[in-house]
């Protein structure tokens, strides 16, 4: 028997790795059935108004085209907004593709061409001719800024904390203070896999929906509501998800349209979106932060003001936690925060990797750097001076916080002590060199809803773990395998994890860095329950060798149940009890009492080195060191990948990514991978990750904090701060393109 212990915390190779390197892993658009139809959506080319008419005659004449759905001939769907509200959607009126003649944003689906082949569907879309009654639109943040409002309905309780102290007086009377605005462009998630859904209608009339989603159960819930179907008629399956970063939290038009077509034609249908259509689904909202900081001469913060405006759509109030971090990360008695929205005629923004924090902490950590220079204090020292040992936003105790160790170990690895503090003081050849630092913080919540997992032991001794959770590349399969193998005392190969099927036990959508902790804890609980079930079954046998033993005396190791000198293989127990399988389901909940007193966050200290060509403004991020405190690291291999991956996305946020909208048209013009730049191999040079020790027995039973978001938080600020150190130019507008480096200051 192979090793069966000590898996948790070990760099176990991804259990889904072989499937991914051989092409065997199948994604939403990769399921086939004999009579499958292919469908391609037609997108609106205006931004706001009404469809007067849609002429589909020429498109229908294309050989192979079977049907074209529009708002005029769609099958019946639900009438009330409530039916279109998924588990994570914001307040408002969810978009209903093809529901009526109204256009709410450029790129909104207005028709679906369904054909025998992909080519026929694609090629007929251009022949669909819509006539519009065009209404005036607004997509320009700068113009809309004046009409910022407080969202009347809060999404998931997101709101700024109450002000504390007297921040106005503190700021007015302070000797050292800074005030600035920080703007961040809208970003598009752009996972590599384009959204698609394959609906296979089986003989029993069940819609088997292969979808790109972070929450199979959320999509199932949505589809049953919208299409008025019983849950047993809709099965949503998403074992592999080609990246999502938040874009697949909500059901997207691809799955809605695929179901619409399957229902209309009673056929199996695949809808695939184009890369251009990927720019019409969701985005990180364009955000403006206004920050004021003041300090006494020793560097102690005397006031923090952080007011942010994020954009949302005309039809929903997307909200995220942008400013709260500023009341949390540093000790300060006088704090004032606010968060407003503006409405633009775009698609609704959505959560994108570290929603809110990735924009708000950028502003705070840039402002802290500005304050450090105003005080002439080392930026890292300024953070140490203002270290928060207590959560002042909610007056709670941190379950753990090893941020000081992040500062120390990160600085040490980076060589921060060798930094010459004056801007423009470090150079090599034609490069100005800059070193910057920033902190990062992200929630380490338990899923707000119960999370369930099932553990099934077969008579062959193989353990199957089943959960409706998702693995979007984050490593859920692998850590669930590790936890199960270790808990049951089985080798890794004896465990199979099944995820992403709506018929399996409930888990909330994969987002907010909750998955590892919630599902991990549920898997552990299921395995512990299975241990008890197995023990009980064995002990209750007539000639049991475990006679008189108590459960707490029993160990599970090497595929055996062991008590003293008695060791019986699981397979023997299963044979003796004459069971094909033994299965149990466990549910874990957050501990309400504990959350009243304690609160959990993951933290980072990010150190960046940039080299900037002084004459040409070209920036290279030559080194990033990210020191992370996130509780117990379940698998350092996959954990490192999550952090470095987020750091790469942060390089994109800092230097590359923005939607370029023609505000006359209300249309994003760079809707492709050639002109919406995400980092390429050449942009990513040297990334280092340090996981500092952080024992945490209160956060959750397995002691882990999620890692999906934290790697991006603070990283863009570290890069911008490094560019200031290199050039003496303060970059307050992301992305920092070379023209800004050369010609702008803030």
């Amino acid at each position: 028997m192979a090793d069966t212990s000590g898996f948790i915390g070990k760099p176990v190779i991804r259990v889904d790795g072989v499937a991914k390197v051989t092409g065997a892993a199948r994604y939403a658009a990769e399921y086939h059935t004999e009579d499958l139809l292919h469908a391609v959506a037609v997108s609106a080319t205006i931004t706001r108004g009404k469809i007067l008419s849609i002429d589909t005659e020429a498109a229908l004449a294309v050989p192979g085209v079977v049907h074209i759905l529009t708002h005029e001939n769609r099958p019946d769907t639900a009438r009330w907004d409530l039916s279109y509200r998924d588990m994570v959607g914001p307040p408002g009126h969810p978009l209903r593709p093809l529901y009526d003649e109204h256009i709410h944003h450029n790129g909104q689906p207005i028709a679906l061409v369904i054909a025998e082949t992909f080519e026929a569907a694609r090629d007929a879309t251009v022949l669909v001719n819509a006539q519009y009654d065009v209404e005036a639109h607004l997509t320009d943040f700068a113009v809309a800024r004046a009409s910022a409002y407080d969202p009347p309905k809060r999404r998931m309780g997101i709101k700024p904390p109450q002000p504390r102290g007297d921040p106005q007086t503190a700021f007015a009377t302070a000797l050292v203070k800074i005030e600035a605005e920080y703007h961040l462009a809208a970003e598009i998630h752009n996972p590599m896999e384009m959204f698609a859904a394959t609906v296979i209608l089986d003989a029993d009339g069940v819609f088997n929906v292969y979808d790109k989603t972070q929450g199979a159960l959320n999509v199932q819930f949505y589809l049953t509501q919208v299409f008025k179907l019983p849950a047993k008629k809709v099965r949503v399956i998403a074992p592999y998800v080609g990246g999502a970063f938040g874009s697949a939290l909500r059901p997207q038009p691809s799955v809605y349209l695929a179901m619409l077509a399957a229902k209309a034609l009673k056929r199996s249908v695949r809808v695939t979106l184009s890369r251009a259509q990927m720019f019409d689904l969701s985005c990180r909202p364009e955000t403006l932060n206004h920050i004021k900081l003041s300090a006494d001469s020793t560097g102690k913060l005397t006031s923090i003001h952080h007011h942010a405006i994020g954009h949302t759509s005309a039809y929903e109030d997307h909200q995220e936690t942008v400013v709260n971090w500023s009341g949390l990360l540093y000790q300060c008695a006088n704090v004032d925060m606010g968060y407003k929205l503006i409405k633009l005629d775009t698609m609704s923004p959505g959560d994108m990797r570290a929603p809110g924090a990735a924009v708000g902490v950028f502003a705070l950590e840039s402002a802290m750097d500005e304050l450090a220079y105003a005080l002439d204090i080392d930026p890292l020292d300024l953070r140490r001076i203002n270290y928060a040992d207590h959560d002042q936003n909610d007056d709670k105790v941190f379950t753990s916080k090893a941020l000081r160790d992040c500062y120390d170990q990160g600085a040490n690895a980076f060589g921060w002590a060798k930094r010459s503090s004056a801007p423009r003081s470090m150079r090599e050849d034609r490069d100005l060199i800059g070193w910057g630092v920033a902190g990062g913080v992200w929630d380490a919540p338990y899923s707000p809803v119960p999370t369930r997992a099932r553990a099934e032991l077969s008579h062959t001794g193989h353990l199957t773990i089943i959960s409706g959770a998702a693995d979007i590349g984050t490593g859920t399969y692998t850590i669930a395998t590790q936890i199960a193998a270790e808990t049951m005392g089985l080798p890794i190969e004896a465990v199979t994890v099944r995820l992403g099927d709506s018929k399996d036990p409930f888990a909330a959508p994969e987002g907010g860095s909750m998955m590892a902790a919630s599902v991990g804890s549920a898997v552990q609980a299921a395995c512990q329950k299975l241990q008890k079930a197995l023990f009980k079954a064995a002990r209750d046998l007539p000639d049991t060798p475990f006679k008189g033993r108590k459960f707490k005396e029993v160990a599970f190791r090497d595929g055996q149940m062991i008590a003293g000198d008695v060791a019986v293989p699981f397979t023997d127990i299963m044979t003796a009890v004459e069971r094909e399988t033994l299965g149990v389901t466990a549910t874990v909940l957050s501990n309400y009492l504990s959350t009243q007193k304690y609160i959990s966050y993951a933290h980072t200290a990010v150190f960046a080195e940039v080299r900037v060509d002084e004459d040409l403004g070209v920036v290279r991020v030559t080194r990033l060191v990210n020191a992370v405190a996130a509780g117990r690291i379940l698998n350092p291999r996959t954990a490192r990948s999550q952090i470095t991956g987020a750091m790469v996305m942060a390089i994109g946020q800092a230097l590359h990514e923005e939607t370029l909208t023609d505000h006359r048209l209300g249309r994003i013009m760079n809707h492709n991978f050639a002109e919406y730049h995400i980092p390429a191999h050449a942009d990513v040079i040297d990334l280092d990750v340090i996981f500092v020790d952080e024992a945490d027995t209160r956060v959750n039973p397995i002691g882990a904090k999620g890692l999906g978001e934290i790697g991006i938080v603070g990283t863009a600020a570290a890069i911008a701060n490094a560019i200031f150190h290199a050039t003496g130019r303060r970059m307050r507008d992301l992305p920092i393109t070379l023209d800004k480096v050369l010609y702008s200051d803030g």
Partner: protein, 338 residues
């Protein structure tokens, strides 16, 4: 993609006939731009003439000491051909600055000349574009134009030619061999691409039914003092904001020949031979390069979002000439700028 008639001729004559017979026929070589444009419904040929089987895959030396490059030689094969690497390293470098290894394997020498602009409006059929649909207007003027022209644009079009290879070819005074229904002719590179004026739908001076058969490079001594420098919004796999091909010869520390071509700034690779001539006889120093660069950009005009490209182009010209003079060409795998 509009359905089309697909033919695969075996000879140049058959190919020309196949092209000439259908007014909107297009020749397919590597397909990296044409297939892309067809998917976007920007190009909608009713006939596609696959010319990949034509005997135009060779690189050979000419009697005059230059080289003749078959139109179907891939960008990768051209960049890494020993004759090109040793005699025309500027061309090799420009090729390696462009696209990606996969695209360079597919893209051909002839096709590279014929690639179309990357203007957002040209690609997006929901918007106005005089190049795509003459008379519809120019969406880019007053729109999203960060990547567009600062030189030689017109009120009808501010598109740029996106090629890197062509910038080097312009500096090297290449000649384009074409063959058509009326026979063969040779077009000087300067005359191959055109400015948009009132007819931006025409990128170049080829006539219907003509095929590029070869590119000829004259003998040069521009194999030591040269550099190709490309600035873009990420460090690889992106089109140029500005690129510069510079090459010169020196005798007794004086400039005897100098060529400077700009990419990403105009409807064609941009060059000003008269200003280059003024540098001949001078020392290759910063003052001379700076005067030249300022004069080269003298008539440049921004469109708002791309105003910065005027000064950026000036700076890039100076740096590239400095690299060339020092015989320290910019390696394309190295991202720190020499």
């Amino acid at each position: 993609m509009r359905p089309f008639d697909y033919v695969r001729p075996a000879t140049i004559g058959e190919a020309i006939a196949a092209l000439n017979a259908v007014p909107d026929a297009r020749a397919l070589a590597g397909g990296t731009n044409l297939v892309d444009l067809m998917k976007y419904e920007v190009a909608r040929p009713s006939r596609v003439v696959d010319i990949n089987r034509l005997p135009l895959h060779d690189i050979e030396e000419t009697a005059e000491g230059g080289v003749k490059i078959g139109a179907l030689v891939s960008n990768a094969d051209l960049a890494w051909h020993p004759l090109i690497e040793t005699r025309y390293p500027l061309l090799s470098s420009a090729l390696l600055a462009g696209a990606s290894p996969q695209l360079r394997n597919a893209a051909t020498t002839g096709g590279n000349l014929l690639q179309r602009t990357r203007c957002h409006y040209f690609y997006d059929t929901a918007t106005a574009c005089n190049k795509r649909e003459p008379g519809s207007g120019c969406g880019a003027i007053g729109g999203v134009n960060r990547n567009l022209a600062i030189l030689g644009a017109s009120d009808a079009c501010i598109a740029t030619h996106p090629s890197d290879m062509c910038v080097a070819l312009r500096a090297l005074d290449a000649r384009v061999h074409v063959e058509g229904p009326d026979g063969a002719r040779i077009i000087a590179f300067a005359d191959f691409h055109r400015l948009p004026e009132e007819t931006p739908q025409f990128d170049n001076t080829m006539r219907h039914g003509e095929l590029i058969t070869h590119i000829e490079l004259p003998a040069t001594r521009l194999d030591t003092h040269y550099s190709y420098l490309k600035l873009r919004d990420r460090l690889s796999y992106a089109f140029a904001l500005v690129s510069v091909a510079a090459a010169l010869t020196l005798e007794d520390d004086r400039i005897t020949d100098v060529r400077v071509a700009l990419g990403g700034v105009a409807h064609k690779p941009w060059r000003n031979e008269a200003l280059e001539a003024e540098m001949v006889g001078q020392m290759p120093d910063a003052a001379v390069f700076s005067r030249f660069a300022t004069a080269l950009l003298h008539d440049a005009k921004g469109q708002g979002q791309n105003d910065f490209k005027i000064d950026l182009a000036r700076r890039t010209v100076i740096r590239t000439l400095t690299q060339a003079a020092a015989a320290t060409p910019q390696p394309q795998t190295r991202k720190s700028i020499l």
